[in-house]
């Protein structure tokens, strides 16, 4: 027996060090940060209460509308791209692959600028239907479709081969088997990742501010920034952030529940 530590002692030392570092970091931040200034700048109660109800009835509502319209468009387009990716016709597969790589590889911000500038330039006189709402659906949808296409493709391929064989042997055509048998099962598999995509889109909807919106079209980020510069105080930003969390945290919990359920169903 030399002076080496037993396993129990070693565990105690290791845990002790980790807790000590944690406590030190918290104390350091608490002591060094200027809490009064922070509170002044970010947590003015009267300023915060002035934000209501507009921040909910206009800003949050618009954020939700933008997200859902982008999601709906992205889902339809993503479905089409996923099926093209699995097509037996090679050019369809190429187009789908290029689309996916392109739109996953570009920042969403660039795509928004493209939709806002290039589309009107390329097709003069034509308006994207729905005004800003249409543009947002297009911008968010184009980005979301690329991610969703890959998710949906993986979901379709996760359905056992025997399902297609059984359907075909019963006389289903390939297309009908896809619609009646394969896709309903694939969707069950991809609901959790698609819900995750919804969370990402919810945050990306903040990019709308690069399209130029009127007062009634503002969403949370734009709303928060505008009021912050009007009042020369950052409280609106904090409140806007809390509004995002109000939606994203419950959604994340739903995703976790769904994933646990799929896990159990296997």
């Amino acid at each position: 027996m030399t002076s080496r530590l037993t396993r129990r002692q070693r565990r105690r030392v290791s845990q002790g060090i980790q807790y000590a570092v944690f406590v030190a970091a918290v104390v350091l931040i608490a002591a060094l940060a200027d809490w009064d200034r922070l509170q002044n700048q970010f947590a003015q109660k009267d300023l915060a209460s002035e934000l209501f109800p507009d921040i909910i009835t206009i800003a949050l509502r618009n954020t939700v509308v933008y997200t859902l319209s982008g999601f709906a468009f992205g889902l339809v387009l993503g479905m089409v791209v996923a099926l093209m990716r699995l097509s037996s016709v090679a050019p369809y597969r190429w187009v789908a692959s290029v689309y996916i790589e392109l739109f996953r590889g570009l920042p969403a911000l660039l795509i928004f600028i493209f939709v806002g500038v290039a589309v009107p330039l390329a097709f003069p006189g034509t308006e994207i239907p729905g005004g800003v709402y249409g543009k947002v659906a297009l911008g968010l949808g184009l980005v979301a479709a690329a991610y969703m296409a890959e998710t949906i493709r993986a979901g379709i391929q996760a359905v056992p081969k025997g399902q297609m064989e059984a359907a075909r042997s019963l006389g289903f055509s390939h297309a009908r088997a896809m619609v009646s048998v394969i896709i309903p099962q694939a969707f069950r598999i991809v609901i959790p990742p698609l819900t995750n995509e919804l969370v990402l889109l919810f945050k990306d909807s903040s990019l709308v501010l690069f399209l130029g919106v009127t007062l009634s079209e503002r969403e949370l980020t734009k709303f928060g920034r505008d009021l912050a510069s009007q009042t020369a105080n950052s409280t609106p930003i904090l409140v806007a952030g809390l509004c995002y969390l109000l939606v994203t945290i419950p959604l994340s919990l739903v995703v976790r529940r769904l994933e646990a359920r799929t896990e159990k169903a296997r």
């Binding site: 056992p160 025997g162 399902q163 064989e165 059984a166 359907a167 075909r168 042997s169 019963l170 006389g171 289903f172 055509s173 009908r176 009646s180 048998v181 309903p184 099962q185 069950r188 169903a265």
Partner: protein, 279 residues
């Protein structure tokens, strides 16, 4: 020609370099029950899957009910409607109920009305003894029950021929009997059946003809008593020895197989209803 429900001529199938079927000629008469036996890798499942074109033959022609399946201009979906297929892994649709497993194909493929499809479904679930499981989901059923639903699903399409691809191989031993009982009933009703199986007692009792395949070719065929009871070819004897009495397998070179058939298949006897005779 009209006598034969299935005619296979010069069928060849390769997967890349690997030739799985090397020229198969086989007829199945209307109402006949043919069991295909043979070691794994002998090509028997591939043969069955070629009949309804789940596998595309590399060469040869196949006729079902007088229609050439291998003709590129034939409506394969229409031909498949006349051929029921039962898989080793059941392949029920897990996202819908038992009843919907039976009604979905009827409604989507045969365009039957809701009420008509439902009554056909009920009828066929009763035939396989599962009327009480109509509202259950496949995952709630035992393997044997799932396979019986799969048979009922195929029957609901009013097929002229039924193909069975090792229907009991994925089942726990105690569940094999209930599936074989349903198949026995079908055979007695005069259904044309092609069955790939390892159930020698079933082949013996129900098959009009047993076909032994090895290495992609038919080695011998004939009445069950002959092929299973007193096989003429050594390869058949070796195979039957291994399958009827797995524990007795000695060194693979040995050919002391003269009394192979004497084991009388009792080792694999299926439980329920095995005493029933079929014509």
């Amino acid at each position: 020609m009209a006598e034969n429900e299935i005619e296979i001529r010069g069928l060849r199938k390769s997967f890349g370099e690997n030739e799985v079927l090397r020229g198969i000629d086989l007829d199945v008469a209307r109402g006949e029950v043919v069991c295909v036996i043979g070691p794994s890798g002998s090509g028997k499942s591939t043969l069955l899957r070629c009949v309804n074109l789940l596998e595309e033959p590399s060469a040869g022609r196949i006729f079902v009910g007088g229609t050439e399946v291998t003709d590129l201009d034939v409506d394969i979906d229409a031909v498949r409607r006349r051929i029921g297929m039962v898989f080793q892994q059941f392949n029920l649709f897990p996202h819908v109920t038992v009843t919907e497993n039976l009604t979905l194909p009827q409604r989507r493929v045969l365009k039957r009305g809701r009420a008509g499809a439902a009554s056909v479904a009920r009828e066929n679930l009763e035939r396989v003894g599962l009327a009480d499981k109509a509202g259950a989901y496949p995952a709630q059923l035992s393997g044997g029950q799932q396979q019986r639903v799969a048979i009922a699903r195929a029957l609901a399409m009013n097929p002229e021929v039924m193909l069975f691809d090792e229907p009991t191989s994925a089942l726990d031993p105690e569940l094999v009997g209930e599936v074989l009982a349903v198949m026995r009933m079908l055979a007695a009703e005069g259904m044309t059946m092609m069955v790939v199986t390892h159930e020698m007692s079933f082949a013996r009792e129900v098959a009009d003809r047993v076909v032994f395949m090895d290495e992609g070719a038919i080695v011998e065929q004939g009445p069950a008593e002959q092929v299973v009871g007193s096989p003429r070819h050594e390869r058949t004897r070796n195979f039957l020895n291994r399958i009827l009495d797995p524990a007795a397998a000695e060194d693979p070179g040995s050919t002391a197989a003269g009394n192979g058939h004497a084991s009388s298949g009792s080792g694999k006897e299926s439980g329920s209803g095995s005493g029933r005779e079929t014509g």
